[in-house]
Each structure stands twice: as C-alpha cells, then as structure tokens.
C-alpha cells in the first residue's frame, strides 16, 4: 500500500517535463517490468504446461516408478495408435463435436431469431435464457443424469405418458442412448450462449437493410436468406469456432453422465487423457495425448477458419 502511495504521488504532482525526463531515465525495460506479472502468469499457466507436457511425452514418466525418467523417443506417440483407447476416443470426440455444434448452432439460431422479434417480456426471456449457461456443468450433468433415470427420472415418465419411443429405456446401458444423454446435457447448457452470440450478430444488422429489402419486394424467406444470413456470418463464425473448440475438449459431461461407458463407447480424448494422468499416473503417455489433442484442436480451428472465411 505504501509503495503504491509513494509511487502515485510523483506521477500527479510534477510538471509534464519532469515525467518525460523520468521516463527516459527509466529506459525501455520499465514497460517490460509493468507487463511482467501478467506475462509471467500467462507463461506459467499456458507455456509452462505445454513445454512440460511436450518434454514428458518423449520420456517414460510414471509416478509410481520413482524418479528415473528415461528418454523413450516416439514410444508414447506410437502407443496412441497401438492401444484400444485413443483412436476410438478421437473418433468419438470428432463425431460429438460435429453433431453437437451443428445442433447447438441450429437451435441457437432459431432462438436468436425469435428473441430478435419484438414482443412483450422479451428482455426477461433474453436474460432467463442464460440461466442454463450459468449453472456449473457438473451440476447440470448430475441433474440430467437423474432426469434420465429410468425409475425416478421425468424423461422416462414423460416419454411413457406420451407413448413415444425411448420410454422404459435404461439410457446408460446403450451406446446411442448414452450419446443422446450427453448431447442433450451439452446442448441444454451451451445453446443459450450460441443464441446470445447470434442475437448480438442479428442486432448489428441495420434496420435500413431490411427496409430496402421490403421496398424491393423481398419475402420473409428471401430477406433471411439474402440479408440476414450473409450479414450474420461473422457472428456465426465466432459461435461455431468457439463451440467447436470447447466441444473438442469435452470432459465434465462425459465424466458425470456416462463415465465413458458403456464399455468405452463414450470416451473422448479428454476422458482418456484424464485416465492416463490421474488413474495410470503415466505423465509420459498423458503428455503424448495432450500434445495430440493440441494438434487436433489447432487443425480443426484452421479448417473451420478456412471453410467459414471462404464462404463469407
């Protein structure tokens, strides 16, 4: 506190010429000193784990094996493809990302269009839309797991009462139904965010554009297709990239809802990675999975940027 006070004083009282002199005297390193804490924190939480994992991934690092960490070259990376877990997890992750992002963007777009229309209570509805997003994922996942429960859950009861398919199903016992649970949970939580992002995009479209369209005799569909859609693309790109990157890292919903089961049919890359680190204590193999996840994520991000930017 005193350090702050003493430093603050000369900054306000001396004439500007004095400050200039002082800045010169302090030299260019002063700027670096000021950004050092933030830069240091960033390096500590991003660069350090990355480098540490990259180094571990070419070594045998098993916490139960004591302190020796011999260099093993690409062994951990070769193991990714020889074990039964990584490749299925990669397929599951990519499949989940494709389906969940498509679903969430589609539903999110409809919600955004609805919320962009003028009606009473729109403000309240817009605010309440964000509630699922504000619920911690572990809580949301536990809720949904219980709601899908065959004996106590309302989903089973509702489907049964309406004579719909899917009633009286042990959701967690089958691969497809387990994925439905994961997708529903994830969509319930993430769609609101997509809707809000797209709503912001919709609101940035000037009203004059629609007015001009109306004068030219555009139908509602034409006005959506040729005006809204192209102008919404920047917001759409943000939503898609944002959701895709977080879907690629999905862990909490899987961990709480299915535990990766039945068998390993809902295991994703993050789940397999958690297993390598925290169950097997194998930081070498875990590091290799982490680095592979990083590469996958960067590749998907580049691909999405290219595809979406090309069409904009």
């Amino acid at each position: 506190m005193t350090a702050l006070a003493t430093r603050a004083k000369p900054a306000t009282s001396p004439p500007p010429a004095k400050i200039m002199r002082r800045r010169r005297r302090e030299g260019p390193w002063f700027g670096w000193v000021l950004v050092a804490p933030a830069a240091g924190a960033l390096l500590l939480i991003t660069a350090f784990p990355l480098v540490y994992n990259a180094m571990n991934s070419v070594r045998h690092v098993d916490l139960l094996d004591g302190s020796s960490r011999p260099f093993v070259g690409t062994e951990n990376y070769r193991r990714l493809f020889s074990e039964h877990t990584f490749v299925p997890a990669l397929e599951h992750t990519l499949g989940f990302t494709a389906v969940s992002v498509t679903l969430e963007v589609a539903v999110g777009l409809v919600l955004a269009l609805l919320l962009n229309m003028p009606f009473r209570g729109r403000g309240l509805l817009r605010a309440s839309l964000l509630i699922p997003w504000a619920v911690p994922t572990a809580v949301a996942a536990t809720l949904w797991r219980n709601m899908f429960d065959r004996s106590n859950g309302f989903v089973d009861y509702l489907l049964g009462a309406l004579h719909l398919p899917g009633a009286h199903v042990t959701w967690l016992a089958n691969t497809w139904s387990s994925w439905v649970m994961v997708l529903v949970t994830d969509a319930w939580q993430s769609t609101p965010l997509v809707a809000i992002l797209l709503l912001a995009g919709l609101q940035s479209v000037p009203a004059e554009v629609y007015e001009a369209g109306r004068i030219d005799g555009a139908s509602r569909w034409q006005s959506f297709r040729y005006l809204t859609w192209p102008l919404l693309r920047p917001a759409l790109m943000v939503a898609v990239v944002f959701r895709a990157l977080s879907a690629l890292l999905i862990f909490d919903v899987i961990y709480v809802v299915t535990g990766g089961g039945p068998g390993n049919s809902t295991e994703t890359l993050s789940f397999v990675n958690y297993h390598a680190f925290l169950v097997d204590n194998n930081f070498g193999y875990g590091g290799a999975i982490s680095i592979s996840m990083l590469i996958t994520t960067v590749m998907v991000a580049l691909l999405l940027r290219r595809v979406l930017a090309a069409r904009c």
């Binding site: 350090a3 005297r25 004996s151 042990t170 016992a173 089961g261 039945p262 297993h275």
Partner: protein, 428 residues
Amino acid sequence: MTNSRNPLPRRYVAGALGLVVLLGGCSSSATGGKQESLSSDQTVVIAVQGGTTGGLGSEGKSTADEIASFEKAHPNVHVKVQALASTTDQAYQQVQRALVAGSATPDVIDADNTWVATFAKAGWVKQLDGLGPDTARFFPGQVAGASYQDKLYGLPWYINVEGLYYRTDLVPTPPKSPAEVVAAAKAALEADPKLKEGLAFEGSKYEGVVCAFIAFLGGFGGTLDLGHLDTPQVRQTLQYMHDLIYVDKVAPQAVTGWTEDNVGQAFTSGQAPFATNWPYVFQAAEAKDSSVAGKTGWIPFPSATGHPTAPLGGSVMLLNAKSSHQAAAWALMQWMTDPGRQTERALSAGDPPSVRAAYTAKLYAAAPYYKQEEAVFAVTTSRPITPRYPQVTAALQLMLSQVLSDQTSVESAVSTAASTVKGLGADS
C-alpha cells in the same frame, strides 16, 4: 549507483525474493520433517470414505462418536475428518492426488485394501512394523490385506466382504450353485408379483463390479489370476453375468448403472429376493423399520465346485509417511481398533470388526446375524495385490462393462483385458 537513483529495481528484487521465500515455505512445509509429540497441541486429519454424514449411512455417525471419545481422552489433539467421495474409485483419486503432491495431510487414510500395495511401493505411507503393532489381534486375512511384501503398512479397521443376500421367506433353501440362484430367482419372481427383479448386483463401471465378478467367479471354481486371465472359468462367469440380464432376465438392464447403494436399496425395500452386497446391508435389512427384517440370509455366492469365494474389501487405516503428527495419528489408529469400540461400531454401523476379541457374546446377543457372517468371512479372497491395481481394475471394469452392456462378445472382451493386464506387468 543506478540503484540509488532509482529505487524500483530494488523493490522488484525484494518482491521476487519474497515470492521465492513464500514458494520455498510452501514446499518445505509439505515435507513434514518435524514430528509433534503426542502431548503437544495439534490437529490430526483423518480421510474417511463417505465422511461423517453421507456415504454408508450410520458408519459416519460411528466414526464421529469414536473421534469424540478420542478427543476427550487426548484433549490436546483435535481430529478433523476429511470426507472422501462415496465411491471407492473417486476416493482413491482424491487421496492419491494429495500423496503425489507430497502433502502432509491427511495424516490417517481410510483405505480400501487394494490401495495398500500401490501406496507402499510409492513410499507414500509409513511402514508400521517399527511401531510395534500387535498383529495377532486381527484376522490373518485382514493383516495380509494390510501388508505389502510381508511388511505391515496399515491397521485393519473393519472387514468388508461381498456375499449374497437372500430372502429366507421366498427362498426356503439357500442355492448351492450359480444355476440354482437363477432358478430360485425365477421361482421367486413368479411367486411374488411385488418383486421387481430376481437378482440385484452392482454392474456400473466402477470397482464394485469387479468385486461382484470375483464373487461370481468363485461360483464357477475360478480365482482371479492376473497372469492367466483368459480362463474357461472367467469366460463362464462373464457369460453368466451377461445372461442374468439378457437371457434369464432375472436382473434388469438397469444394473449396468447400479452401485452397491442401489443394490442395497433394491434388497431392503423388498423388491429383490437376491442381492450381492457387503455386510453393512445386513444391519439395515434387520433394522426394525425394514420390510425384510427377520427374512434376511447371507451366504457366500454359491459355488458349483464347492469352493465359493467372497471378495475382500476390507478397510485399512494407513499412516501418511509425510505426516508430522505420526504419534497422534498412530494413537488414533489404535483407538479405532480397540475391541470395545469395534463391537460398538459393529452394532451401530454394521461394520464387522477386524479384531477377533470384538466378537463377543454381547455382539451375538444384540445382532445374531454376525454368526451368519462368519461363514462368509471364512472364504474371503483378496483382490489381486499389486501396485498396478488401479490399471488392472480399469481393464477389468472395461471388460465387464462391455459384456454387461452387450456390446462385445465375452471372448473378445476377455482377450483384450488379458493382453492389457499382461502389458502392465502386474502379475510379476
């Protein structure tokens, strides 16, 4: 000279030094070098599975009572309970994370006996032979479960063995083979429309399913040998468990998501004539308000070859090697294994004592079912003792989950698990 003109660098250097001292302080406190004597004021942390509130019902209350009496006898020692997760896999990870990080707490760990080898090999828990423990007080199987390479690392707290509960009113003569269990379950389902399932067992993908599997395996004369996992008995057992759900239909498909709590509820609420479970269910089943009071029997899962096995899940108290309160922690561990307190715990929480002297006439008079439990304790089988147990059980859980969810054939699931386990070198 530069410094005298500009005070900033010195300040930053001081700040950096402060940070170093702070970080250094953190790491040195974690090594727990200095030991507190039993008479000095201190707080001992005991990590208990299920904690003192949730988890396995009245167990938490018993633990709290025992701790209160310990604190009364040692007024300078305060005991803090760290509640661990109610499923053993999650509890294991909670403890393991603390130990990997070199934490001095928890001082005492309520461990499953499968954790002992892993923690002992890693040097995370103290070897207890030097403290002069009286191992003759305990059942030999329990001492073996608390040891690694013939050295003692824990004090057995209570016995946990998986057996088969059955309704004596619906199943007049206990079955003598796995096939008889199915036949009796079908007969009971036909006779009593209130029943919802014939046999409840824990089929969720967690440690419990491995225990159920070992119980069933004894029914076919098999034992779990990590060097030779792919045996006809293992295949028969897996097929049996699969068929319980899909062919004989005596177990609902929902068991693939059930833990022992769900199974216990199914039995005590009177909706299943058979259920695999641990001893604590006996106390709940025989409670006054239970719908199955006076109608409960408990046997080892019957074996067609006459050699049943009951998987051991004994609770063992371990002492953190980095604890700086080892004297107080050791006193607490001995307090918990006092015969009188063990009898009390058996009566209030249904945890069978690990100490022989706790099986008194008072216990049998108040809870006659402990006589029945002895038959199950007689055939206890330890789960594999290996430092690689976490990986072994993960491979077994995957195998069981695949078969129980009807995803993979028995042959393919066993051969995958066998090759994974072999690759771990856990059998050596």
